[in-house]
């Protein structure tokens, strides 16, 4: 029986920069399994890139340790970690051709001649760059450069591939295309990828697991559907996907559910998180697509009334912005808004298990951080 080490393990890792200020990363415990696609998601300054750079060896943890295959990385410089890193600006070597760029990690490992040529040809065909081997990077498009960077990070068969916002500089269509390409290659080669992004859509489509970062700490880690559908705090609810955030006060609490009084006096039910008690100020998060409505009152609990303020047509769906009596607005997403008009009264409602209540204090702070 073999001991099942995770491939990478962060144990109590902390990073502080000289000159004080809050820790860039604090209390980081994280295990990365072989073959998984883990995304570090968060706004800028949340600590996700610092975490990646500590793993690559470009930053040193102030406390704690990082293990690779059970062995500490503390004394291993970046060039002995055997990790392929893809940088945001690609970091291609402008004085080398595509082939020379890709062959570079082989050359420093003493692999030359036909063996190197074969590996380079294989990886170039994997990223679909055959025939461009003699070009210099400045003669390539953004997407092609990204493919070269990827090929260069894969050609030496690293234990781990680290990607730091690799698609950030590309336009949307190309980005989506390359997301699919990276997933295809990851599945084909069984790669372990740690992927940093601030784009929650990218994180949701590509990842096996997502670690949501804010303020140097992991707010929640789990499968994309869990992150999206069961956010554990107000920050995750606000940052991942779109959420309506309604303020209110707890009236009663029973096990994992609570009743909340909205400013207009309406009582709604939500899933309780943390130790909230009657009288506490809370924020209730409900996603636009989970608000149900119709000409007739919806057949679920939490039925209240709102007034249509604005209709917006988005092609594949429509949005209604509605005002609640007594204050607060709500966005409702629906396949079609035909039959609705601004100013009309609208019965709305949602299922209790789609709505999450978070302590208002955390929520306000997290919200500010997310939009800052």
């Amino acid at each position: 029986m073999t001991v099942a080490f995770p491939l990478v393990e962060f144990r109590g890792v902390e990073k502080r920069y000289v000159g004080g200020g809050p820790a860039a990363v604090a209390d980081l415990d994280l295990a990365i399994e072989r073959g998984e696609f883990l995304t570090l998601l968060g706004p800028s300054g949340s600590g996700k890139t610092t975490t990646l750079m500590m793993l690559a060896g470009f930053e040193t943890p102030s406390a704690g340790e990082i293990l690779l295959g059970g062995a500490s990385l503390a004394d291993r410089p970046p060039y002995r970690r055997n990790m392929g890193v893809v940088f945001q600006n690609y970091a291609l070597f402008p004085h080398m051709s595509v082939v020379e760029n890709v062959a570079f990690p082989l050359r420093v490992r003493g692999i030359r001649g036909s063996e190197a040529a074969k590996k380079v040809a294989n990886v170039l065909s994997l990223v679909k760059l055959e025939g461009l081997g003699d070009r210099r990077p400045d003669a390539l498009s953004g997407g092609q450069r990204q493919r070269v960077a990827l090929a260069r990070a894969l050609v030496f068969e690293p234990d781990l591939v680290l990607m730091d916002e690799p698609l950030g500089a590309l336009d949307r269509q190309l980005r989506e295309h390359l997301q699919a390409e990276i997933k295809r290659i990851q599945r084909a080669l069984g790669l372990t990828i740690v992927y940093v992004t601030h784009d929650q859509g990218e994180a949701l489509t590509m990842s096996d697991r997502i670690a949501v970062f804010a303020g140097g700490r992991i707010q929640q880690i789990g499968r994309p559907d869990a992150i999206y559908e069961k956010p554990q705090n107000a920050f995750v609810a606000a940052f991942v996907g779109e959420n309506n955030m309604l303020t209110g006060t707890v009236v009663t609490r029973h096990d994992d559910q609570c009743a909340i009084r909205l400013p207009g006096g309406q009582i709604v039910r939500a899933m309780a998180t943390g130790a909230m008690m009657p009288g506490d100020s809370v924020i209730a998060a409900i996603r636009p697509e989970h608000v149900e409505t119709g000409i007739t009152p919806p057949a679920c609990c939490n039925a209240i009334e709102a007034r249509v303020e604005e209709l917006a047509y988005h092609g594949d769906h429509s949005r209604i912005r509605a005002a609640l009596d007594g204050g607060g607005t709500l966005v409702i997403r629906m396949p079609s808004a035909r039959g609705f008009a601004a100013g009309q009264r609208l019965p709305i409602g949602w299922c209790t298990d789609r709505c999450f209540a978070f302590p208002a204090e955390d929520g306000a702070a997290a919200w500010r951080k997310a939009v800052a």
Partner: protein
């Protein structure tokens, strides 16, 4: 409407040209034209033609074999006498003296005797005044000066001359100075450029790797020499490096040396002072190039498995070569023209070609020679700049 829109780009082009036109005209009138006029003196030769118009025509018609026809000798004799009376003989005498030493006294002695009534019906009469008129050298010198173009100055700048039979021969060894001075000029400039590379590269690297907040004050320190006049800087070096100067006193005080070292008024002083003055010209372009290399380049090399020295040599250094080439070429070309610094901190054997040019311009007033020396300095300089451009182009930044 479409018509007026089509005219717009052309209007804009004229507008752009109008913006630079005043400066262009100013440069043309105050710089380009005078420089070209000055340089043209290296090949244009009208001194003799101006004073002796008839002799010049006759000299050009002569085939140059042996001694000239009697008619030519009579014309020369006549124009010697008229030039003497009009006080313009000096110009011809100076010009012929460049070609043949002693021409000057020969002309004046002949002019005096002709003035006193000596007959001048041919070579035989002239030879009675001075036997040198029977030798081909003086006639060859006149033929070489018959204008309008001459190779005399350019050949002289290369320590060569035309002999009486129009063959290119070396000047006598004691007059052959310029080849040595040119070689010395190129050697000093090359060594200064190498010193700048050795001293400047690490500094530029440090500056480029520091955050801007820390790099800016250091940059000001590097620029400081720019804001001090060359004279003040050089005088300061004299104070520092002289026999009883700061450096020697300090070395003696700590007991490293017993007797003062000769640090100035020799080649070492020239290297020290010129490197100091020119170092910013090397550091700044290199700093610019290094700033353009993203810090992730070295990180990428490291993550791909290259240890620091390997990463530097195969990734960083090649990307800085255009900056090194640009800086070194700037330093080398500026050093080629240095004049004040070697004059103040060098010895007699450390003077560069600019000192010779200045001598011919200001003291001996032989502007043809000054122009020829300048032209020969300018040509390798243009070559260097061209070579630098191609070198920079083959290593894209």
């Amino acid at each position: 409407m479409p018509g007026s829109r089509a005219k717009l780009p052309e209007l804009r082009r004229w507008w752009r040209f109008a913006l630079v036109a005043p400066l262009l005209l100013f440069l043309l009138a105050s710089f380009v034209a005078p420089v070209l006029m000055m340089l043209s003196r290296a090949v244009i030769d009208r001194d003799l033609e101006r004073v002796w118009p008839d002799s010049a025509v006759a000299l050009r018609q002569w085939d140059g074999e042996g001694l000239p026809p009697e008619a030519l000798a009579r014309t020369v004799a006549r124009e010697i006498r008229t030039a003497r009376q009009e006080g313009t003989l000096n110009q011809v005498a100076n010009r012929l003296n460049y070609d043949m030493v002693g021409s000057r006294s020969l002309l004046y002695a002949t002019a005096d005797r002709l003035h006193a009534g000596a007959p001048a019906n041919g070579i035989a009469d002239l030879a009675r005044i001075d036997p040198r008129w029977e030798r081909p050298e003086i006639w060859a010198a006149m033929r070489h000066a018959d204008g309008p173009l001459t190779s005399h100055y350019l050949l002289a700048a290369l320590d060569r001359r035309l002999d009486a039979d129009d063959r290119i021969v070396n000047v006598p060894a004691e007059q052959a100075v310029f080849t040595n001075i040119y070689l010395r000029t190129f050697k000093i400039s090359a060594i200064v450029a190498l010193l700048c590379i050795a001293l400047g590269y690490p500094v530029a690297y440090l500056l480029a790797s520091l955050p801007e907040r820390k790099a800016n004050p250091l940059l000001i320190l590097i620029l400081l020499p720019f804001w001090t006049s060359a004279l003040v800087r050089t005088a300061a070096w004299a104070v520092f490096l002289q026999t009883n100067g700061v450096v020697n006193n300090a070395l003696q005080a700590v007991g490293l040396i017993d007797a003062p070292l000769q640090l100035i008024y020799n080649r070492l002083g020239v290297y020290i002072a010129m490197t100091h003055v020119l170092l910013p010209f090397f550091i700044l372009p290199l700093y610019g190039v290094m700033k353009g290399i993203p810090p992730t380049a070295m990180r990428a090399a490291s993550s791909l498995g290259a240890p620091p020295v390997r990463a530097f040599l195969s990734v960083y250094l090649p990307q800085t070569l255009p900056g090194v080439a640009a800086g070194a070429i700037i330093v080398f070309t500026l050093a080629l023209g240095y004049y004040v610094t070697p004059a103040l901190v060098g010895g007699g054997a450390d003077q560069m070609i600019s000192a010779s040019i200045a001598f011919y311009t200001n003291q001996s007033l032989n502007w043809g020679m000054a122009a020829a020396l300048s032209l020969l300095l300018l040509l390798p300089l243009l070559l260097m700049i061209f070579a630098g451009r191609t070198m920079v182009r083959t290593v894209p930044a």
